[in-house]
């Protein structure tokens, strides 16, 4: 099977496992789900080091978008903490 297929299958299993685990732990904050899924995506992407340069560039682009979303969530949380909400 192609390395790309393995990558997608790994990512599906990891995100599925994380969502199931957080749900089992009673987590009710959607931002926590989102942040942990982003961290899982970045970790799995880093583990697949043998992608060709085009695939690597494309995935780096996706990582930048996800990281931007991650920073937005962190910024919102920081503002919440500073404003005492």
């Amino acid at each position: 099977m192609s390395i790309y297929n393995w990558f997608i299958i790994t990512l599906t299993l990891v995100t599925g496992f994380i969502n199931a685990l957080l749900a089992f732990m009673g987590q009710e904050d959607i931002q926590i789900y989102f942040i942990i899924n982003i961290i899982a995506y970045m970790t799995v992407t880093l583990l697949y080091v043998y992608f060709n340069p085009m695939a690597r560039r494309a995935l780096d682009g996706v990582s930048v978008v996800f990281f931007g979303a991650f920073l937005v969530i962190v910024a919102i949380k920081v503002v919440d903490i500073i404003s005492g909400r």
Partner: protein, 249 residues
Amino acid sequence: MMRSLLNNPYRWLGLSLCVAGAVFSPLAFFIVASVPLTAVGLSAIMLGFVCAALANARPYISPEACQLMLKTGMENTSALLEELNLRNKAVYLPSLMREGRPQALIPLLEDADLMQIRQKLPGRLIVRYGANPDDMAIAVTTAGSINIDLLENNPGPTSGGIEDAVNYILTGVLDIASAVKISNQDGLIRAEITGARLPYENVWYQRCLGSPIASIVAAISSEALAKPVRIKEEIQAKGKISLVIEVLA
């Protein structure tokens, strides 16, 4: 336009996951009021983005066109080898012993002593590698020679360095194998390639130069060690190729 957009399975999967996630997440959040189900929808959107990104990394040229070009090159080299009646195993030379590109050397004599190759050889088709008038060989470019250009850095001279480079080319760039394991001991490089999708064929070209996968492993090993190498043994069974590569000089 729409057809070309959706004829790639990764793009199709990516689009489906994004649409499904975008529809499912608001429903789960506002109607079902379930955060875990909303997270599943968000994960589907993330996977959709990843699949769509991978779709752009697939080659523009069809696999059939690539196979056609590979076969054309192999048949031309085969014709040359048959015409010269050459049956000897090729020696893969690193780029520093050729003019900028690693190549394979097929000696004209059967019992040629190729241990004496140390100096840089001229970049011609027919080359003299020793002092005797009979020390002649033909130098050909193989699939492995071209693939060296695809490496971002020169491979390290350790078995780990060779394994990383071969894995990068075979599983990442060319996608013609699932995994590669390499060990280097006593002047012999042993490679185990699983999930190989370019099998060994008992044709003239591959009897001299090895299968395309073996050629790539030999060329990378030669380049990493900066020494000539020769494919000593190539065994294929159930999609697994076992190679023994002899390091010369």
